[in-house]
């Protein structure tokens, strides 16, 4: 009996220590773990889609990007102190949402890049692999390009974050970020197709319109070099766009690019993903899939009499009125007489009731994203990130910077001609030509999240914004404060100089 008992103990101890571990790791039904999920090309496809979704987030081009690029600039006046008034509040909602959405996008890109090589692509789909890689590399570069221009130094994360602990990282210098952006964008140029064709059979790729192309990656690289004042490279990559097999072209009418609120009772759904479009963020007309651009920069909605359908209190900024180009913004004056772009870009109340009480003049807003019957929830107007007109303007600018104006006129005049304007007067100096391009960019690309970044990269932000706001704006304000919410969570994030710590 005594030995029996010993055996029992041995058996029990064995059970105690080792048994049944499997019981602690049961299969989860109903949803998939990340490791389980990445099993085939479809999971990669869906995840690449998800990376694009970050662009459609409020912190992407649904709101924050133009809130920073246009509302913070001298093109609009809102009356709010935060972005519009450059008060440097680190609690500004758009800054927080921009930070988070961009890192969300970066995370999604990193997941794809980390997993894609482990996925076996069938022989007839193997051609998709470089395309998927190229897309997320492009997107990651774009996300970082936006982040670095808005915040300066930011955490550079290129691995797939797996636990929250890995996200507690500090800021990396902009040189390092730009190096990564350029490397990613260059890889994207190599990997991406000029167009998504049906040459790969049964691709499974969900939708081609709106995906990043080689042209988009070249345009991104060109923009990056332009921002870095490396005009040679900027010109070089812009020139490569001209040399693509798939040619981009300007649409005949500027107004075709955007919604056409004046065209009558019919649905003025904008033309999207046109021959001029190099990369644009897609929005849809179902609930939650729209852009907010019209809701905040435009007249929100319109009725048949083209009245401004705002809440009764037109001066109540809580009601969401970004208003008053007429008295606080110089944008209206920037348009030359006869510029077709003025009527396409600006919505003006046409009715005597809706006037600014102090000036007696009609209210004027951004009209580019106005779709009849749609609100901030379901306004389907896509948001342009890169279009061919900008390629031409970059070529004009970089040619002028590298070789002087002589060969630069051809580019800028294409843009002006389409706007119904005469050519730029010949014989300008390099400096004069630079100002002409700067003017042209403002009117051509207004409300397209370019203005603020143009002011900063050309060194004109301080003077322009001081004049616009009627207060001193300093150089430190070229970048925005790191969001307080992020600094509260992650103490490694040091605040930008000049802002409240």
């Amino acid at each position: 009996m005594k030995t029996n008992y010993k055996v029992l103990i041995v058996i029990l101890v064995g059970l105690f220590l080792t048994c049944c571990e499997k019981n602690l790791d049961p299969k989860m039904y109903g949803s998939l773990t990340v490791d389980e999920y990445f099993s085939d090309v479809n999971s990669i496809d869906a995840s690449v889609n998800a990376a694009y979704q970050a662009l459609q987030d409020e912190g992407g081009y649904k709101n924050a990007m133009w809130a920073i690029g246009d509302i913070a600039s001298d093109d609009t006046y809102y009356g709010d102190d935060k972005l519009d008034g450059l008060d440097g509040d680190p609690n500004t909602g758009q800054l927080t949402s921009m930070w988070r959405a961009h890192y969300k996008g970066i995370y999604r890109c990193n997941v794809v890049l980390n997993r894609i090589d482990g996925i076996i692509f069938a022989a007839n789909r193997v051609g998709l692999k470089p395309q998927y890689k190229g897309q997320v590399l492009f997107l990651r570069a774009l996300f970082y390009f936006n982040l670095v221009r808005v915040f300066g130094d930011v955490p550079l994360i290129t691995n797939e974050i797996k636990t929250a602990e890995e996200a507690y990282v500090g800021r990396d210098p902009i040189t390092k970020i730009y190096a990564q952006i350029i490397a990613d964008a260059k890889s994207a140029v190599d990997l991406l197709p000029e167009v998504y064709s049906t040459s790969i059979p049964n691709t499974g790729m969900s939708q081609d319109k709106g995906r990043a192309t080689k042209g988009a990656a070249l345009m991104l690289l060109s923009s990056v070099y332009l921002t870095l004042k490396d005009y040679t490279n900027a010109k070089d990559y812009a020139t490569q766009i001209l040399n693509l097999t798939n040619k981009y072209s300007l649409l005949p009418a500027y107004g075709d690019l955007f919604c056409k609120p004046y065209s009558g009772a019919g649905n003025t759904y904008p033309l999207e993903n046109t021959a001029e479009s190099i990369f644009e963020v897609q929005f849809g007309d179902q609930s939650g899939r729209g852009t907010q651009a019209n809701w905040w920069m435009g007249p929100q909605s319109w009725d048949t009499s083209l009245r401004w359908n705002r809440p009764t209190d037109k001066t109540n900024k809580d009601a969401g009125a970004f208003v008053a180009f007429t008295d606080k913004s110089t944008l209206m004056q920037e348009f030359e007489t006869g510029d077709a772009r003025a009527t396409a870009a600006i919505f003006s109340t046409s009715n005597s009731v809706d006037v600014n009480a102090s000036t007696g003049l009609p209210w004027k807003f951004c009209g580019k994203y106005l779709v009849k019957g749609k609100t901030n929830n379901n306004d389907p107007a896509n948001f342009p990130v890169f279009r061919y007109a900008e390629t031409l303007l970059i070529l004009a600018e970089t040619e002028n910077e590298t070789n002087g104006p002589a060969n630069a006129y051809q580019y800028i005049n294409q843009v002006r001609t389409r706007a119904g304007l005469t050519n730029v007067a010949s014989g300008l100096t390099k400096d004069q030509f630079r100002d002409v391009v700067f003017h042209e960019r403002r009117v051509e690309l207004c409300f397209e999240a370019k203005r603020w970044f143009d002011l900063v990269r050309t060194g004109r932000m301080e003077s322009t914004m001081s004049a616009h706001l009627g207060k001193t704006v300093n150089a430190y304000q070229n970048i925005f404060p790191i969001p307080k919410l992020e600094r509260d969570v992650n103490p490694l994030l040091v605040q930008n100089p000049g802002y409240a710590q």
Binding site: T3, C19, D35, A46, A50, S206, R289, V489
Partner: protein
């Protein structure tokens, strides 16, 4: 496990070798016994003994014989005096002669069976003629006691009394003593002397310090406990006459707070042991229930997912028959609970069902019949009163809105006295909708059980059937149970047994809560609407002059309830088998396997229905839900008990494996326009579907060590290591230790002399437990789908949560200090406990860096809650003897405080609101520094009585309206002249300051009267019922109290005037949502049970062939003393969520019940 055996070569080799050894041994014994039996008869006759010893003990002599021969002796050294010294000299004498010399004249009977020699006192020998004793054993009331064991002291000779309590014992020597013993009775000894008839009267054991109670994975003498364990006996459960056992616990024991979520038959209660420990809902505050050793699942309980209308979820315990319960032990402190590790943070309730007792088969039949009525009705307005208030409210509205330049609101002529329209409604008479819906509902309960057994086999088999109709029409709950518990002592070292509980429960319910769809309509329905037309059909608005009063409730609640169906059917099987091997006298090994299986089906039918009112289902809807769970558990336990001198030592080590599975399917479809087509297949369009399955598992090791020295100093230590599938990969195992000490001061010599103190024990414990109710797979990185706008295609998926490998149980550290005092031979028993519990690592959503990408906040173990309190129990035998009076009293105080509930993303301290009420915002808020779920409301400060007061405090309500005379005055906390959410403050807690109960039992001969009262003090109730019925601006009926008390110029009061707004939005200066006018003191004292019972004298009972007969009558919830004007202060409509406690939101009302019953035994 299977795999392990395969892999564990060493183990299996050892095992096989051992098996082989056992087989060899068996063979050897078999051969020797066969051989020796062949030799029988020769050795004892032939063997000769030679001895030459001086002054040796008999024992040594016998030893010497054994050494020099093949004989061996068998005797009991308590019966045979072997320490006597003798001289002996024999040479080659026969063994019989030698023994004759040794025991000459000593009355020792010598029996030689081959080489075995049995020595026994002669009075035990069959040849010896002692005298025959007969007698009868009765209890104090004179009833005969069958099954009492009557034993000759010091022997195993004895008999058991027959059905009539009679016994007869032959060959009893005069110097013997008879021992009478019976479970639950005090043992008695009577010397035989010259008597031939010995009758014994056994008395019930006084509440015992020698009582044995169930502790985790074993039992312990109550006197040896060093932890805090409360017991509720089957007697208490029975006397509560509750249909379910959770209700029976209310007020019975200190530290256990039971509050009623619903009064519906079979409905749920909230049980909190020593306060609310977790901020999570869905059972995260439920204790662990262990039924016959099987920890059952309640955390994943039959939650109403997908059921928008299931107002009354049934209790997971409702399927257990209270009649089958032997005892309930409630483990409260960490010393007691830590053996259950990661599930014990909220305490443990151990439920043991009845097992067989040695004795003749005892058949018991219990039958009871009861009638229930609603505990209270609310007095509502009559048509005249309603119309008067309506007119006044329109006047108020117009007066008020004109000041704001808004047009008049027109009065309905039906409400203006004297109009022909008014007379039409008046002619309808006043309908009392409560009378129309409530009913006197019967309960029936019948139980039949058979128990009995021998020393080898005992059994307890029972069947029960309970049907309880609800006091609201069309509600009921029926339960049928079967139970069979069998224990078999196979041989001296093996015992096996099984326990089987099968229950089926089915019933119908109605929707509760404020939702304009359920029983709220009982009070809201208008008095001038009729129930029936003269032809007996339901009166609908369409059939009568109808005026648009903006009704948003069914005009005829009775018609609605009648047409809807909500059925629940549940089967539950709780079964286990065990085998127990006695390896050594001190060491046993018990292996048990159990299962808890449930299948639940719910069916809801909302018919096509269009009575011209707010509820106009344009098509029928059917919801079907199937919910299956299984929970299997295997326990292997080693138990060791040893006593050396003054040292007692006990050890237990165990291993447990448990697996849970849950599968849910929900289907909902609608579209039929014929209310008779009520099956899901009749509905043409699918409405929603849901289904999932979840596995989870536990692997645990645990152990306990008890040590006591001189039965004075007690030490207990326990430890459990729980591995759970719910824990993150870095925290797969949690370790939960506890230690406790006890000092029986009364055993010390300096106290022993004080006869008045019969027991004094001081104990202290410290330990850690866990709460693994953190959801399944929360630690995994999961993917989810989202929408990317891509033209027409938009599927996208991505990781939506990051892995959280550190996610773990919520843990709970508890300190307990206890005192147990017994005076005057336990006539006064007093227990006191102080405890301090701190729950740490409560799940809270914590912001993480945005650069994490997948999510910006993560659920982590961060919160902290403290509960501390006192518990007192006092039992006194005030009078003993023929007339006896016992009192049991308990009271417990608990203070709950949230210490930390995480930080919000902006660094400020977090807070969480509870559940919203109907269409309105939540009234509870949980924040650090307050108790969980404190009421957070706008304070009222009477009514604006004069214009001067309005001018002095012209606040604007959140809707932009300004107050006026007669409207409610709110406290503008921040002085911004606006009344809005910023003016909300904490106004009280739903958690009581103390709770308790008192039970008095009087008995005289067979008659006994027991009166049990429970009480709750210091909590607040937010009455959404009275808020909606006394707001003054709804369209539904209002209480008579409101009519009597609202402000009028001629009768100023502090209750705001009625205002008829365009909707029921409460915006016109009158009672708005979320203010303290609907907040009430929730204290109450309730005479919960009065039981009058008569135990018929045995002499009478036996004449009709019974052994026992008892009749009783019980009144439950007879009387309640409270300031609460609602229906019942014992209300916790949203009790499943601790952050929404203390709300009365149209719960199913409680019943007052009168029950008559009888117990028969034969």
């Amino acid at each position: 496990m299977k795999k392990k055996f395969k892999d564990g070569g060493i183990l299996s080799w050892n095992f096989l070798r051992q098996l082989f050894l056992i087989m060899k041994l068996t063979l050897f014994i078999l051969i020797t016994s066969v051989l020796s039996s062949l030799a029988t008869g020769s050795y004892s006759q032939n063997a000769k003994v030679t001895l030459d010893l001086k002054s040796v003990t008999v024992k040594e002599t016998l030893k010497a014989i054994e050494n020099s021969s093949e004989f061996f002796f068998v005797y009991n050294n308590e019966l045979i005096n072997v320490d006597r010294k003798i001289d002996i000299q024999v040479k080659n004498e026969k063994i019989g002669d030698v023994l004759g010399k040794i025991f000459d004249g000593r009355n020792v009977e010598v029996t030689v069976i081959d080489r075995k020699i049995i020595l026994a006192p002669t009075y035990m020998g069959s040849q010896q003629q002692g005298k025959k004793i007969t007698g009868k054993v009765t209890d104090a009331s004179g009833g005969s006691l069958p099954g009492v064991s009557v034993v000759l002291k010091g022997t195993t000779t004895g008999v058991i009394t027959d059905l009539n309590g009679n016994y007869s014992l032959a060959n009893v020597p005069e110097n013997a003593t008879l021992q009478f013993s019976f479970v639950g009775m005090k043992a008695q000894e009577i010397a035989v002397g010259n008597k031939t008839t010995i009758n014994a009267v056994l008395t019930e054991e006084t509440i015992g310090i020698e009582e044995v109670v169930a502790v985790g994975y074993g039992t312990q003498r109550k006197s040896d406990l060093t932890g805090s364990v409360a017991s509720v006996s089957s007697k208490d459960i029975k006397s509560s006459a509750s249909m379910t056992l959770d209700r029976a616990l209310q007020g019975r024991t200190a530290g256990v707070n039971v509050s009623s979520n619903t009064g519906a038959p079979g409905g749920n209660v909230s049980i909190q042991i020593r306060g609310v420990n977790s901020t999570s809902g869905d059972g995260a505050n439920d204790p662990l229930y262990v039924i016959d050793g099987i920890p059952i699942t309640t955390d994943d309980n039959m939650g109403g997912r997908g059921f928008t209308r299931s107002g009354t979820l049934n209790s997971p315990l409702a399927v257990i028959n209270p009649n089958d319960i032997e005892s309930i032990e409630i483990l409260k402190d960490a010393s007691a609970t830590a053996i259950y590790g990661a599930r014990a943070a909220n305490g443990v309730v151990i439920i043991t069902t009845k097992t067989g007792k040695v004795g003749a088969a005892k058949v018991t039949l219990d039958y009871s019949y009861g009638i229930q009525t609603v505990i209270k009705k609310l007095e509502m307005c009559s048509f005249e009163q309603y119309a008067e208030m309506y007119v006044q409210s329109i006047d108020n509205y117009n007066l008020y809105t004109k000041q704001n330049g808004v047009a008049d609101r027109v009065k309905s002529p039906y409400m203006i006295k004297g109009t022909p329209e008014y007379e039409i409604y008046k002619a309808n008479g006043n309908t009392d909708w409560q009378d129309a819906i409530f009913r006197t509902a019967p309960t029936k309960d019948i139980n039949l059980s058979v128990t009995g057994g021998t020393e080898k086999l005992s059994y307890s088999i029972s069947g029960g059937y309970t049907k309880q109709d609800g006091i609201i029409m069309k509600t009921d709950n029926t339960r049928a149970t079967l139970r069979s518990n069998i224990d078999l002592q196979v041989n001296s070292w093996l015992k096996i047994g099984s326990k089987l509980n099968i229950g089926r429960e089915w019933g119908n319910m109605v929707t509760s809560g404020e939702n304009y769809q359920g029983i709220d309509g009982i009070w809201q329905a208008l008095p001038f609407f009729k129930v029936y037309n003269t032809d007996g059909s339901y009166w609908e608005n369409a059939e009568a002059p109808y005026v648009n009063l903006g009704l948003n409730n069914p005009a005829n609640i009775k018609a609605k309830l009648d047409r809807e169906k909500q059925e629940t059917k549940r089967n539950r099987l709780i079964a286990s088998v065990y085998g127990e091997i006695r390896i050594l006298p001190e060491l046993t090994f018990k292996s048990s396997f159990g299962a808890d299986l449930t299948t639940t089906n719910q069916y809801v039918f909302m018919p096509f229905y269009n009575p011209n009112s707010y509820i106009n289902n344009s098509s029928s809807q059917v919801d079907v839900k199937n919910y299956n769970t299984y929970n299997i558990v295997a326990d292997q336990i080693l138990n060791y008990l040893m006593k050396i001198g003054d040292h007692s030592f006990g050890a237990m080590a165990g291993f447990s494996y448990q697996q849970f599975y849950r599968q849910t399917e929900l289907m909902s479809a609608k579209g039929s326009t014929d209310a008779r087509l009520d099956q899901i297949g009749n509905q043409p369009s699918m409405y929603s579907m849901y289904g999932d399955r979840v596995y989870s598992g536990l692997v645990s090791q645990f152990g306990r060590v008890n040590y006591s020295y001189k039965n004075k100093y007690l030490v207990t230590a326990t430890i459990r290591r729980d591995g759970s599938s719910r824990f993150g990969s870095n925290k797969k195992y949690g370790i939960f230790p506890s230690a406790s000490i006890g000092w029986k001061v009364s055993e010390e010599s300096f106290l022993k002399s004080i006869k008045q103190i019969s027991n004094l024990k001081i104990r202290a414990s410290y330990g850690k437990t866990g709460n693994q109710n953190i959801g399944n797979f929360s630690y995994l990185a999961k993917t989810g789908s989202l929408t990317t706008v891509w033209g027409n295609a938009d599927a996208a998926a991505i990781a939506t949560t990051l892995a959280n490998p550190d996610l773990r149980w919520e843990d709970n550290i508890q300190k307990d200090l206890g005192l147990e005092l017994g005076l005057f031979n336990q006539r006064i028993v007093f227990d006191a406990d102080y405890y301090n519990k701190r729950s740490n690592g409560l799940l809270v959503s914590i912001p993480i860096p945005g650069s994490a990408g997948a999510q910006v906040s993560q659920t982590r173990n961060a919160g902290s809650v403290e509960n501390k309190g006192w518990e007192f129990m006092l039992s006194t035998r005030n009078l003993q003897g023929e007339f006896s009076w016992n009192t049991d009293f308990n009271i417990s105080f608990n203070k709950n405080k949230v210490l930390d509930i995480g930080k919000a993303a902006d660094g400020s301290s977090n807070y969480f609101y509870g559940l919203g009420l109907g269409n309105d915002a939540a009234v509870n808020r949980t924040e650090a520094g307050h108790s969980i779920g404190e009421f957070y409301l706008i304070k009222t400060d009477g009514v604006y009585q004069t214009q001067a007061q309005v001018d002095a405090l012209p606040v604007v309500l959140s809707t932009g309206r300004i107050v006026s005379i007669g409207t409610q005055r709110y406290v503008d906390q921040n002085g911004d002249k606006k009344i809005d959410d910023l003016d909300r403050v904490y106004v009280g807690s739903p958690l009581p300051k103390f709770t308790g109960g008192i039970n008095n039992t009087f008995s005289y001969k067979g008659l006994s009267l027991s009166i049990f009262a429970n009480f709750v003090y210091g909590n607040k109730i937010y009455s959404n019922v009275l808020r909606t019925l006394e707001k003054g601006d709804g369209y539904w009926n209002q209480t008579k109290w409101y009519y009597d008390n609202y402000w009028r110029a001629d009768k100023p009061s502090d209750v705001g005037i009625p205002f008829k707004g365009p909707s029921n939005s409460g915006v016109y200066g009158n009672v708005s949502n979320n203010n303290d006018r609907a907040l009430f003191d929730g204290s109450y004292l309730r005479i919960k049970n009065i039981t009058l019972a008569y135990q018929f004298p045995k002499s009478i009972v036996q004449k009709v062939g019974l052994s026992n007969m008892r009749v009783y009558s019980n009144i439950a919830n007879m009387f309640t003393l409270t300031n609460y004007r609602g229906i019942d202060p014992d209300v916790n409509s949203q009790g499943a969520n601790p952050m929404s406690a203390g709300v009365d939101n149209y719960s199913y009302p409680t019943a007052k019940t009168i029950t008559f019953g009888m117990n028969l035994e034969f």
